[in-house]
Every structure is written in C-alpha cells, then in structure tokens.
C-alpha cells in the first residue's frame, strides 16, 4: 500500500473516528426516516445530498488543503519532501488518505442520492449524478490541495510561514465567482457565458457545432476540470519534491480552458474573443499565484540571453504562456474580422492587450518589492485605483475605450513600458546583505 495513504488512514480513519462517524450518520439518517414518514426514500435522498455536500465538498476540500498546510505548520514537511515516494504517489496518498473519513461519510450520502435519483430518473440519470458528484468533489479537493501547495511555495519565496486558512474559501470562492461571472451581461453578449453557467442550465449546449445535453456537458466539464486539478496538484507536488517541471501542464490547461470556453461561442471572432478573455484571466491568476522569486526570474532572463532555451524552459514564468496566447488571440480576432455585437473590434482587443501588459507590470512591481507580504493587496489596490481613476475621468488614456481604441492602445503601451521598467529595476536589484 502507498505509505502516504497508509499513514493518513492510520491518522484519519482509526476505529474510534470511524465509530463516531457511524453514530453521527445513524442519527442523521434515523431522524430523516422518522421525519419523512411516507416519503422515506425522498427524505433520505435529500439527507444524502446534504451529507455529501457537507462531507465531500466542504469538509473534504478543507482537509485536502490542510493535508499540506498542517505538515508545514507541524514541521514535518521537510521530512516528507525528502521522501522516496514518487510525486504522484505522494499526491494521491495525501489527497485520498487525508480525506478518507470524509469520503466514507460522503459515500453513504451518495448511496441514498443515487437510490433516489435511480427511482425518479432511471440508470442514466443515476450515472450522471454519480459522475457529477465524484468529479465535483475531486475538483474541489484537488484544487484545494493545489492552492495549498502554491501557498507553500509562495510563502517560502517570500520568507514567511505558509497559511492555509483561506485555502478552502479561496477555491470555493473562485468556483462560485466563475459561475456568476459567466452570467454577466457583457460576457453573455459574446456568448462565452455558455461555460460554467451551462453547468446549471437545462437546455442543450451547442459546443463546437455539437449539440450536447446540458447535464452531460456539465458532468463532462466537471470531470475534465477535476482531471486538470489533479494534474495541477501533481505538478506542484513535483516542485515541492525538488523535481523540475517541463512547461507543458499550465499552458496545456490554459489552452484547454480557452478551447472549452470558445466552443460555446458562435462565430470565429467571438471564439477568439472568448479564448482571449480566458487567456487574459489566466495571465492575471498566474501573476498573482506564482511565487515572487526574483532570483529565479533573473536566472530565467540570464539563460534566455545566453540562448540556453532548454534550461530556461524549467524556469518559464507562468504568466508568459497566457500572455503569448492572448497576443495570438488578438491576432486571430484581427484576422477573423470584427463581428459587431458578438466580439470586440481588433483595435479594442489590441488596447485591452496593452492594458493587460501594463497591469501585469504593476503587479510585478508590487510583488517584487521589499515587502512581499503586503504586495498582493498593494497590487490590487493599485489596479483598482488605475481603473477607478480611468473610469471617473472617462479618458481613453486611462482605460481601453472602445470609442478611441487607438489612443488607448498607444497610452496602454507607454504605461506598460513604464510599469515594466520600474518592475525590472526591482527584479534586478542584487542582494548584498547576509541574513
């Protein structure tokens, strides 16, 4: 047996904890049977949903994040990093071992859910429920672990102790925010909102010319993103175990997310726009998520200057791929021709691209500053102020104005150059003192 899984079973699923969980479940289901009277199966189905959500989605994802965070807090992480276990063994052993008890509890809930769904909708619907529930749980749990691993790397680079208390909230928050954002009117206009919101839609989905039932689309999407969350956790675990990652997973995910989102848009221009929006969003996420390690960044630039691309690839900044992809999307949008009403014009897209580069420069300037602990907040405030001032002034110089896109593009480019000049000054500042 995977020793990491075994250890977690010893700690999480001991006889006492199993007994207590069993008693709690008996109370829940017993009370449901008594209260449901003649509609016992329906009542158990509802109880099962609640048990599954609270156990697999909330409790499980919290534990999955803490599976890494607690090791750091209890100073056992270095011992684990010296382990001979392969990164994948460490990942799944930790992920499913730490959540073993929550899975056992959740499975009891899932059992009643499936029983209820099978009775109402037959085997196909039960299969959808099974796959959908399992994928959602894995997505949140693996995502939570990946976020915790990112947090550990960021904390190490910034010379502080890792904190995981917001891990679960962060993952759940992102999940919900993306669901809501996709429903916003401006995005619906470009028909890119058929992504996450489609998970909650009942009509058929048209995706890259295919007509897919909404439920199956949601289930398959959840499964795909769950698989990517597992890949993300595994790749980050590799880095923690001091292995080097060739840069394919993150660009692969970014490309997948763009293809997934673009598939629901209609027309080439709208698809390029949808893909570009996903790329840009990923660039922002990467800039904030990646450790502000200027030593590594300097090394990357040095290797590139010397033409040692193969070595440089291992230190590839995460934001670079989505930025390049965004540039390609802008070119694609230009080549496909603007489709008024469904996609922004190429000049607006170019202006938005310039402002994206400026924004990343501002974030880099703050994150590579002397106080990395407060840098994220500083960067967010700076971006907010930049757009707030631009919005109040209603000046094409300060935000990508569709009515004066050319001016915005030039202004954005100049500001981007300024922001990156300042950021680079901080990145290249040498360390002299001894800690």
């Amino acid at each position: 047996m995977n020793p990491e899984f075994q250890r977690n079973l010893w700690l999480e699923a001991g006889p006492k904890r199993l007994a207590w969980a069993g008693v709690a479940l008996l109370v829940v289901y017993g009370a449901t049977v008594i209260l449901a009277e003649h509609r016992v199966l329906n009542g158990l189905g509802v109880a099962g949903v609640l048990v599954f959500i609270s156990s697999a989605l909330i409790w499980g994802s919290r534990i999955a994040g803490r599976a890494v965070g607690d090791e750091v807090g209890e100073r056992t992480w270095d011992f684990q990093r010296l382990s001979a276990l392969e990164p994948w063994s460490m990942t799944w052993g930790k992920l499913f071992g730490a959540t073993s008890l929550s899975w056992l509890v959740a499975l009891s809930g899932l059992f009643f859910v499936l029983l209820s769904v099978f009775k109402e909708g037959g085997p196909a619907m039960a299969l959808q429920a099974l796959l959908g529930c399992a994928a959602a749980a894995v997505l949140l749990q693996a995502g939570s672990m990946a976020v915790a691993l990112l947090g550990v790397r960021r904390a190490r680079a910034e010379g502080r102790a890792a904190a995981v208390r917001f891990t679960f909230g962060g993952v759940l928050g992102i999940f919900l925010i993306l669901s809501v954002v996709g429903r916003l009117a401006p995005l619906r206009q470009f028909r890119m909102g058929a992504g996450l919101p489609s998970l909650f839609s009942s009509s058929d989905q048209h995706w890259w010319g295919l007509s897919i039932s909404a439920t199956w689309f949601a289930v398959m999407s959840l499964a795909a993103f769950a698989a990517w969350a597992l890949v993300g956790a595994w790749r980050l675990m590799r880095l923690e175990l001091q292995m080097r990652n060739a840069p394919w997973a993150w660009p692969g995910f970014v490309a997948f997310a763009a293809v997934w989102a673009a598939g629901s848009a209609s027309g080439a221009a709208a698809r390029w726009a949808a893909a570009g929006a996903v790329f840009a969003a990923c660039a922002y996420v990467a800039t904030f998520a990646e450790p502000a390690d200027r030593v590594r960044l300097r090394k990357f630039v040095d290797l590139v200057r010397r033409g040692r691309w193969a070595e440089a690839a291992f230190d590839f900044p995460a934001a670079l791929a989505p930025v390049l992809f965004t540039g390609i999307a802008v070119l694609g949008l230009t080549a496909s021709g603007a489709d008024a009403g469904h996609a922004p014009s190429p000049s607006v897209a170019a202006a938005a691209f310039a402002f994206l580069i400026r924004d990343l420069g501002i974030v880099a300037y703050f994150r590579f500053g002397p106080r990395p602990r407060r840098s994220d907040l500083g960067a967010v405030v700076a971006l907010f102020l930049a757009y707030f001032v631009g919005g109040v002034a209603r000046s094409a110089l300060l935000f990508p104005d569709p009515n004066a896109a050319g001016i915005s593009a030039v202004s954005g480019t100049i500001m981007a150059l300024g922001a990156w000049t300042l950021a680079w000054k901080r990145i290249r500042a040498r360390e002299h003192s001894t800690v």
Binding site: W10, L11, R75, T76, F79, A84, G159, Q242, V295, E431
Partner: protein, 319 residues
C-alpha cells in the same frame, strides 16, 4: 603519501540568495567519507541554509554541491535517498506510535514493505526506543522525541546524516545520550555533519570542523579538530618551576620561548607545532638549569578556537 579518501560532500562556490538578502557567498569545502564534521558559526551565519542546500531541499543560486558523488541540483531525489536530515525545528506525527512513525519513515524512504518492520525495529534499537514501540510520539519527552526523529532519519541507512542543532533544548542526560548515538553512528562509517552552538559536545565526537561566518567559510576551511587545538599560536603548556628566578619571564623570553603569562612559580608557554616540541622544550629548560617540577600541555578546546576566531576573525586554524 596519504591514501586518497573520496569526498562524501563537496561544495564549490555555493551562493544562495533569499529574496531580500544573500545568505551564502561562494562557499567551498570538501568533507571526506566517514568524517564527523562540526559546522560552527554564529547565529545567522548561514549554517542552516548551507545544510538545506546540501540536503537538496533548497537550490543554490550559483555553484554546485555533490553528495555521495551526486549533484544536488541535477538529481535531488537521488541525494534525498542518500541522506538523512534532521532540521533544527522538526515535527513528529504525535498521534502515531513510535513503531508506526518508524515504519512510515522506512516505507517512505524506500525500504521495501517486507523489510519495513525490521528496519523500524532496528532503528528503534539504535536510538534506544525499542522498549517504547507502542507509545504515542506525542507522549515522549523532548529527549526521546529527538531520538525518535533521529531514528526516522537513519531508518533507511543513509550514507550521510545532517543534524542541524540536534542538541538544542536537551537536558544534560539527553545530550550525553545524543553524543553516544552520534559516536555509534560514526563508528559505522556514516558521514555526519552536525551544526551546534554547544561546542563542548562536538568535541566528543567531531573529527573535523568548518566555521561559517557571514555566509563565508572562516578560519581557512575544514580542519581536523585535533589540529584545531594546535593553533598557529602553537601548543600551550603549563610549566611549574621549583625556586624559579625572579626574572622568570625575561629569562624564558631570552631563551626564545613565547611566554603567554607567568605567575609565581608557574608559566604558560606557547610551543611551535611538531611532534617533538614538548620533549625539546622540556630538555632545553632543564639544560638551562631551570628546575622543572611540573610540565603539562593545556588543552585548547573547540570553544577556545571558535571564540578566538570569533574575536578577531582573522586567525587561521592550521590545516
């Protein structure tokens, strides 16, 4: 010609940068196989950073380190397999029993499942915990926790053991126990690198010493601890005279001796290095008509040598 001893750890121009500061400034040294190296230096000198780089837990900004012939940056996982590392602040799985802690350590460090129990019990025996296998780690005293942590680091029989401040916070009995354990492991030809502030203990078992100051090697590099007691100032001897002359200090200086101090019938002399220095000095004193009633070398401890280096920062320790 001395036999060639292959290096177990070799560091070459190692530089390490934290985001806000440079911790190591081009450190180079070689640790021979089977030696027990004391890594000493003041707080913030870079000892722990250096150890983490050797353990392939942190990647140096520049330079290279090999452990058992394996480059820490090229093959960090192979280095992990070859070493046992106990950080200065370590944790244990408090809810697990001693046996389960050790079995997990063995399995996670690559010991096959069928041998894990035996390896765990052997490690428990080596650290003196074989009578507490069923006790929870959280119930152990600080000294016993230290032993369990060391047991976890040696359960896979590593070639190199890195101990960062292992004696910190231990009571005298636990320190003695730790000292005995390191001696036993050293006798099994394990290469051991120990950092500590408690130099008197290192004296018991260290064969070599490396001082790090401000992220740089101080004192000229690794020296044998035996040599370190013979500083460039020479071997110190205490001589007691019967009816010494009133101008004892002048008389001794006129004979070419380096006189550290005189008090009553006693004088402390510094002798040059070399195996015959003591015998030659004694015969010269007697030949000059001085009545010697006592002649005893004074031991210069690691702490003396360290403090001397710390005081003036320029003294070279032989080697």
């Amino acid at each position: 010609m001395e036999p060639y001893i292959s290096p177990m750890i070799a560091a070459q121009d190692v530089v390490f940068d934290y985001p806000a500061a440079r911790a190591l400034h081009g450190i180079s040294f070689v640790v021979p196989r089977g030696s027990v190296l004391a890594l000493v230096g003041p707080n913030g000198a870079g000892k722990s950073t250096l150890m983490r780089c050797i353990a392939a837990l942190d990647r140096p900004t520049a330079g290279s380190i090999t452990v058992a012939g394996v480059d820490t940056q090229e093959h960090p996982r192979a280095v992990h397999a070859a070493i046992g590392y106990l950080p200065d602040f370590f944790g244990l799985y408090d809810e697990l029993s001693v046996l389960r802690c050790l079995v997990y350590a063995a399995r996670s460090r690559g010991v096959p499942p069928e041998h894990a129990q035996d390896a765990a019990k052997r490690a428990a025996q080596r650290v003196g915990l074989d009578d507490r296998l069923d006790q929870r780690a959280g119930e152990l005293s600080r000294g016993l926790r230290q032993r369990l942590a060391i047991g976890q680091t040696i359960v896979h029989a590593p070639q190199v053991l890195l101990l960062d401040e292992p004696a910190a916070g231990l009571d005298p009995e636990a320190r003695r126990s730790l000292s005995d354990l390191v001696k036993r492991l050293a006798a099994e030809e394990m290469t051991i690198l120990v950092s500590s502030h408690i130099l008197a203990e290192l004296e018991d078992y260290c064969t070599d010493m490396l001082m790090v100051r401000d992220g740089r090697v101080a004192g000229g590099g690794i020296v044998s601890t035996a040599d370190s007691r013979r500083t460039v100032e020479g071997l110190r001897v205490q001589v007691r005279f019967l009816q010494p002359p009133a101008d004892l200090a002048d008389r001794l200086q006129s004979l070419g001796f380096a006189v550290e101090s005189t008090a009553g019938e006693e004088a402390i002399l510094r002798l040059p290095g070399g195996p015959d220095a003591e015998a030659e000095t004694l015969s010269r004193l007697v030949a000059e008509g001085l009545k010697v009633k006592g002649f005893s070398p004074l031991k210069t401890t690691l702490e003396d040598a360290y403090l001397r280096e710390a005081r003036d920062g320029t003294t070279r320790w032989g080697g």
